[in-house]
Amino acid sequence: MLDLRQVTKTYRVGAFGGERLHAVRGVDLAVAPGEVVSLIGESGSGKSTIGKMVLRLIAPSAGAITFEGRDVAAVRGHRATKEYYRRVQGVFQDPFSCFNPVFTADRVFGLIRAEYHRSASAAAWRARVEEALATVRLDPAQVMGKYPHQLSGGQLQRLLIARALLLDIRMLVADEIISMLDASTRIDVLNLLGDLKARGLGILFITHDLSLGNYISDTAVILRRGRVVEKGPTGEVFAAPAHPYTRRLLSSVPQLHTTWEQADAALRAGGERACPGCARGGQPGAHGPVELAPGHHVGCFTAQD
């Protein structure tokens, strides 16, 4: 459904924009209906940039993004853009910053109505909103007419998802939607994503928290400095991380039942720096994705950084 091919984004930075910053480099990935793809990586690895490119908030410097067979770059003009957003929506990291603090939270629905459902009668619209709220398990009485600060992060995040559901979306970009939430509310939101996936939505789930990526996603994509270093079915990637970077990342994740020492020990045992990609004939430090197992690729770019 969503396809990224060799997508690259370069920012000009510095005085006169003289320097180039490669935020995303030659990323390939695909999201199918009913699939959750998690993008995982350190801060600055280009995750949000990819998400924003998919949402057309920024334009790729090179490469193509296609959605349902149509090139996203070809979507031009206000009307076409609106149509695109009818299908593809996003939810962002900080629920508090997603709401305009001077308006009530349900204004996000109002905006959708003003742009997409002008003709809907008030009653029909209300019904529609309530249905969406029900989907995200929110009580309309509790959230309508309230200001963002009066709602919890989890509620706000769910409002945002409900907002996306008001449209006929096929694809959701969820950019770190749970990192700002308390542990106890986090899981609710994740579960909600799971439900949506069951409804056939494709989800691009962006996170730096590996355990969360693992919980919800079907495919994991590990990003490092704008490049995909490992990509594969989530279970496989987490169980048998191939790229040293993935392994190191995993070992740093604080886990309830494993101490860091134990993780380190496990890492050492697994052969710390060996890259199975190189072992399979990739040029050490410079090879692109090498398929290890069906759908499990590893890339090694250390030499090019």
């Binding site: 908030l57 900080d94 001077v102």
Partner: protein
């Protein structure tokens, strides 16, 4: 002459909004009613404004009409005395207040509008648009405004107060543009802006309906400073004889008093009220502004 930019720069540290409107309003009101700076400043400005609005209604003849004896000290009949020609200084003062407020309103308003449009556009659009607007801003900033105004003032064959305000407005916006741009830049990174785009909003409505409301208190304070600044600039122009050629303003009164020898003749009643009026209006506006800052900004509130 120019608004106290610094107060606004300080306010840039202001968290874009300190809570939602209904609570903010309530709270702001609470603090507003307890803020002596705001109360005193607002009170003085309000009183003068009211005088300027209402008192002229009770003045029978125009401010320039020769109604009484010449050069008379304040008396029960002529509260502020009369000019060399027998014009009622009080009548001139109240009409002058009116036009002084008008200049402030027009000048401040136009500067605010231009500054905001430029600032919003530069901040939101970024890129080349930003560069070009920045350049324009810089040019206007270094052009010595008063000199340009002098030239512009001379260019106009007949000058009204509103026109004067217009010209002042057109030269005093750059710092607003800069400040608004900075604010917009930071607000534009907020996710709700992206969300509005995802909702199919067009750029201008994002700027004016999403970003601007978040800066409302800031914009209001900016306007107040511009208002005061415009009054001072106008007074400067009036003083060197490039003021409006019709009507009265406090600056013009000052100019007339000086050219007609009010100082030598000891006619303080002609000379002091307009100067004091300007100082009082502008000073109170500034004080009010600091008060507002304290009200809007929770960090500065004192309990």
């Amino acid at each position: 002459m120019e608004p106290d930019v610094r107060a606004v720069q300080a306010a840039e540290g202001l968290p874009a909004q300190a809570g939602p409107p209904e609570r903010r309003l309530g709270e702001s009101l609470h603090f507003a009613l307890r803020n002596p700076k705001l109360l005193i400043g607002g009170g003085v400005v309000g009183a003068l404004l009211l005088t300027g609005l209402v008192a002229p209604l009770f003045v029978q003849e125009g401010p320039n009409v020769y109604v009484g004896p010449q050069a008379q000290a304040p008396s029960a009949q002529y509260w502020l005395g009369t000019t060399n020609f027998g014009q009622d200084v009080f009548a001139q003062f109240v009409f002058g207040l009116r036009s002084t407020f008008l200049v402030g309103l027009v000048g401040g308003g136009i500067a605010a509008v231009v500054g905001m449009v430029v600032g919003f556009t530069a901040g939101y659009r970024g890129g080349l648009v930003d560069e070009v607007l920045n350049m324009i801003t810089n040019v206007v900033l270094v052009l010595p405004a008063l000199v340009v105004l002098i030239i512009a003032a001379a260019y106009l064959q007949a000058r009204g107060i509103a026109l004067q305000g217009l010209f002042i407005g057109l030269t005093s916006w750059p710092w607003v543009a800069r400040a608004v741009r900075a604010q917009t830049l930071s607000l534009a990174t907020r996710d709700f802006v992206d969300l509005a785009r995802l909702s199919g909003r067009r750029a201008h409505s994002i700027v004016f309906r999403e970003i601007a409301p978040n800066m409302s208190s800031y914009l209001f304070m900016t306007f107040i400073l511009l208002f005061g600044g415009a009054i001072l600039i106008a007074a400067g122009l009036d003083f060197i004889g490039l003021g409006p050629t019709e009507g009265v303003s406090l600056g013009l009164m000052m100019h007339n008093a000086v050219t007609w020898g009010a100082l030598q003749l000891g006619m303080w009643w002609w000379f002091v009220p307009p100067g004091l009026g300007i100082t009082a209006i502008v000073g109170s506006l500034y004080i009010m502004n600091v008060g507002l800052d304290e009200v809007f900004n929770p960090k500065l509130r004192e309990l």
